[in-house]
């Protein structure tokens, strides 16, 4: 059993899905996604939570240029694999009420994108990582541009150019590192062993940072995000926000900081500053949004800003917090976008000011919506709390430009307060108050909607109450990675 099964199963599934009739495509895709989840769970069952690489695979790909198909799973990758394999079937489930034109292409693209993302999360070879990175981008571009809303052409070409521009600089960074290795290959562990001087590491840091910052996105590279999230079909938005942006965070953790530790020492503080600015900025803008989907898009920037700040704080609390928060954010944001999908499908509007009183006629929907909101605003005993608590604890432990970590984490912590304000206000405006002409036709959730929201709520509560198993998976790997890099800080010559 190697990780290749995990990577290639969705590719095969995508091709097979194309062979089905359009009406059957979603069931086929669901079947394959669940099979993929089962595979991941099987991997998890045999997984030993130490810092070692498991299920690894290393076969020559283009050996004369030092390119190997090298992939494996450690604790960090395991979390990402779980995130991807859990969310994809969930996202497919949320599309059951939709009738997409040319549905088989739609689901095939989703599965193909899953393969790309799993490649990114398990790759240990720079070339493979880059290929996975772009292989995930092409399908989502087509998903967003083919099944999206108005302005989709303009918005999505902007999205594509933005992310492509970032990633091609990363490619240059990867090739540069490759040329420095004595063995002339793309092996990540050989990248880790390099000792470049500070100025070169600064450039490497910049090249990688650009790609990851655009993907997440971190302020001021976020301008593609709200438009893209808003115009994309719901499933596309969920893929983007639930899983794809985690590629950026994962990249920082695995490819940015360990590859350019001294560059990180020099520029890491700026990255935290940008992240924290993003938190406050996005939260304030989220306040002013009347379009529910757009509000969630901005709130996502704020949450991701906090995750990024936690990673750049580079201590066990921050990074572990980021790991668990990546899962939680994935679940919550999928829930949130699904809720807005349900509302807009029934009422043909996402304008918060036109809504109200839905709780009276749709109690089940009200309960699940509330749980998702509470998870998003990080109430204790929900999944959001565990992550944000650890993240803030992580940011607390550092000094930025002689400013104590307390100040930084206080600013970063506004995300919880501001988040609670705009999220609860949104909930109040949509669900409470009096029914009006628009909302009186709302019907409560049923069937696949109830199942999907039920799973999401269960995950929110279970992870919130007992996060230990998840934290345990990545703990050893995270500790090991932090130690390796810290070791280089000590040896750094300035």
């Amino acid at each position: 059993m190697t990780v290749s099964i995990l990577i290639f199963l969705p590719v095969i599934a995508a091709v097979l899905t194309l062979l089905f009739k359009n009406e059957m495509a979603k069931h086929a895709a669901m079947f394959f996604a669940v099979a993929e989840l089962a595979t991941a769970l099987y991997f998890l069952s045999g997984f030993v939570a130490d810092a070692s690489l498991q299920y690894s695979l290393d076969v020559p790909w283009v050996p004369q240029f030092g390119i190997y198909f090298k992939a494996g799973i450690d604790g960090i990758s395991m979390i990402m694999v779980l995130l991807t394999t859990v969310l994809v079937p969930l996202i497919i489930l949320t599309t059951y009420e939709h009738e997409y034109k040319n549905a088989r292409a739609f689901y095939a693209l989703i599965l193909f994108m899953q393969a790309g993302m799993l490649t990114v999360f398990t790759a240990l070879d720079g070339f493979l990582f880059y290929v996975g990175w772009e292989a995930a981008l092409i399908p989502i571009y087509f998903i967003c541009a083919l099944w999206g809303g108005e302005n989709r052409i303009r918005v999505n070409i902007k999205f594509f150019i933005y992310t492509f521009a970032g990633s091609i600089f990363m490619l240059i960074g990867i090739i540069y590192l490759y040329l420095q290795t004595p063995t002339k290959d793309y092996d990540l562990s050989h990248f880790y062993n390099l000792t470049l001087d500070a100025s070169h590491q600064g450039w490497v840091f910049g090249a990688f940072f650009l790609a990851f910052a655009i993907k997440m996105p971190i302020f001021p590279f976020h301008t593609w995000q709200p438009d893209t999230y808003t115009t994309a079909p719901s499933a596309g938005t969920m893929m983007l926000s639930g899983i794809m942006l985690k590629m950026g965070i994962y990249g920082v953790l695995r490819w940015l900081i360990p590859n350019a530790p001294i560059g990180f020492l020099a520029w890491g503080n700026w990255a935290i500053v940008l992240s924290v600015i993003g938190i406050v900025y996005a939260s304030i803008i989220a306040f002013k949004q009347t379009d529910g989907k757009r509000l969630v898009a901005y709130s996502s920037i704020a949450h991701v800003g906090l995750i990024a700040a936690g990673i750049f704080a580079w201590n066990i609390y921050g990074v572990q917090g980021a790991m668990i928060q990546m899962i939680s954010h994935g679940i919550n944001v999928v829930g949130m976008f699904f809720i807005w999908d349900i509302i807009s499908r029934r009422l043909n509007t996402r304008d918060i000011s036109q809504l109200g009183g839905i709780a009276k006629i749709a109690p089940k929907f009200a309960i699940t919506f509330l749980i998702v909101v509470l998870g998003t605003v990080a109430l204790p005993l929900t999944n959001g709390f565990v992550g944000e608590f650890l993240l803030l604890r992580g940011v607390l432990g550092i000094n930025i430009f002689n400013m104590s970590g307390i100040a930084t984490s206080a600013i970063a912590g506004t995300t919880i307060i501001l988040g609670a304000v705009y999220m609860l206000r949104m909930y109040k405006n949509v669900m409470q108050g009096e029914l009006n002409e628009t909302t009186s036709v709302f019907t409560d959730i049923k069937g696949s909607e109830r199942l999907a929201l039920g799973i999401i709520c269960a995950l929110i509560i279970v992870i919130g109450v007992y996060p230990q198993p998840l934290l345990h998976i990545s703990e050893a790997s995270v500790t090991n990675l932090i130690e390796t890099v810290s070791h280089k800080f000590v040896n750094a010559k300035f």
Binding site: Q64, I67, I138
Partner: protein, 462 residues
């Protein structure tokens, strides 16, 4: 060598077939003859240790020649297969068509296997003279005539530069032979004749004309636009690839040790070429003209391997030229089909194509992605090798320029994809003949196969 003989004899056979009005036999005979030539070329593979210059050092058939001959022959076969039923519509002289294409191919085989500068010149001339005729073969068409005249004047002009350069090099080094010139450069490390340097510059100018690199590119857009589409396809793929193969062969074998002299010159040319090609392509409404300008920008990427001259250069150019040729053949094939239906070369003519012709839209998407250099297509591998080679020699500025240009190129390549998939238009299904399906499908499969598993061809020239 057998390859060259077959390719030279074949057009004469074809002319006789034309004389006896055996129109139906033309294409089969051409294809079979070329397959035989292809087989002969493949048989000469991997005899590098015994390969000696033949005919008094005039030609050298080594792996380099074989690899580029094979790519040229395969591309030409694909283009000729697309031309079934195409030439009949635009001309009465079909046999001449096939014959002239093959004559130019013979020139190309000489260009990729010369071992003496006179043979380089002869090869380029055989190829060019054939192309002048091909560009103007639609006798009554104004654009075609303009195209031929422009091409001829510019081509003759550039040939003059090339010849003058060769003469100066002969004058200073006393040899036309590649080994002789190399020996001259190596044995006079400090006191190379200034005339030799002048000769190198003139050769660069001449060759840059031929491959369409800026600022010597002025002929390309008009010639490409005016010539019949499949001839344009031939010019922008096979001819360009061969031009670069000849370019590299000369520089790799002779001028490697004086790279400090010419590489700044070529670097400037490369940067200008990239920007001019890409930025002008952005503003084109016509798909054909867009491809013409994009071919200029691809010439810029191909120049990378020469500027960053090294052991991997041959492999890089081979990879890039193959990827680019295959992808361009798809693009031109699709253009011919769409034009037959809509009567326009504009990108707007592709609107809504995906709804009616999913297969055509898909292969054209693969082609555009490959030209734009997106992973899992051959075009990405080509760009990847080019960037690696340039970074290896610390040409950071060039790589940054190339990256910026790669980003610019997304705009115009994606415009085609957007037109096909996201814009709607009233249109009927484009009828795709079987052999078009075969060629387009084959090219798309090759593009993806090389993109996924580059080892298929990346190791050939190392």
């Amino acid at each position: 060598m057998t390859t060259l003989i077959i390719i030279s004899v074949l057009p004469i056979v074809l002319l006789y077939l034309g004389l006896y009005k055996a129109q139906k036999a033309l294409l089969p005979v051409t294809i079979i003859g070329m397959l035989v030539a292809l087989g002969a070329a493949v048989c000469a593979w991997n005899k590098d240790d015994v390969a000696q210059p033949i005919y008094h050092g005039m030609m050298l058939f080594n792996n380099y020649s074989v690899a580029f001959s094979v790519v040229s022959i395969i591309s030409t076969i694909l283009i000729l297969m697309l031309s079934k039923g195409y030439f009949e519509k635009i001309s009465n002289h079909i046999a001449e068509y096939y014959a002239i294409v093959l004559f130019s191919l013979a020139g190309i085989v000489v260009m990729v296997s010369y071992h003496n500068l006179t043979m380089l010149f002869v090869g380029i001339e055989i190829m060019s003279v054939s192309l002048y005729i091909l560009a103007g073969i639609r006798k009554n068409d104004f654009a075609s005539n303009e195209s031929a005249l422009k091409y001829f004047l510019m081509g003759a002009f550039s040939t003059g530069f090339l010849l003058f350069g060769i003469a100066l090099i002969y004058g200073s080094s006393g040899s036309f032979d590649l080994d002789g010139i190399r020996d001259y450069v190596l044995t006079h490390p400090r006191n190379i004749d200034p005339i030799f340097y002048t000769g190198v510059l003139l050769i660069i100018v001449g060759l840059c004309f031929k491959v369409g690199a800026a600022p010597f590119h002025f002929w390309t857009p008009d010639v490409y636009e005016g010539a019949p589409s499949l001839i344009t396809a031939y010019m922008s793929t096979v001819v360009k690839a061969a031009g670069f193969a000849a370019f590299l062969r000369l520089f790799l074998s002779c001028f490697g040790s004086i790279a400090a002299f010419w590489s700044p010159v070529l670097m400037v040319i490369t940067i200008i070429t990239l920007f001019i090609g890409n930025i002008t392509a952005l503003y084109q409404q016509s798909f054909k003209r867009m491809l013409a300008f994009s071919s200029i920008s691809h010439a810029g990427y191909l120049l990378f391997a020469i500027v960053a001259l090294g052991a991997a250069s041959a492999s890089s150019i081979f990879m890039y030229a193959t990827a680019y040729s295959i992808a361009s053949i798809i693009a031109f094939g699709a253009l011919v089909l769409v034009r037959q239906q809509t009567g326009t070369d504009d990108v707007d003519g592709f609107n809504g194509l995906a709804a009616k012709n999913p297969f055509l839209a898909f292969v054209l998407t693969v082609s555009m992605l490959s030209l734009a250099g997106i992973p899992l297509t051959a075009g990405f591998i080509g760009k990847f090798f080019m960037f690696s080679g340039a970074l290896l020699q610390y040409k950071y500025i060039m790589v940054i320029v190339a990256v910026v240009n790669a980003i610019i190129s997304i705009f115009y390549y994606f415009r085609v994809i957007i037109a096909m998939y996201f814009r709607s238009a009233e249109r009927a299904e484009v009828q795709i003949p079987g052999y078009y399906k075969f060629v387009l499908g084959f090219a798309a499969v090759v593009t993806i196969a090389i993109g996924v598993y580059p080892s298929l061809i990346s190791g050939l020239l190392i």
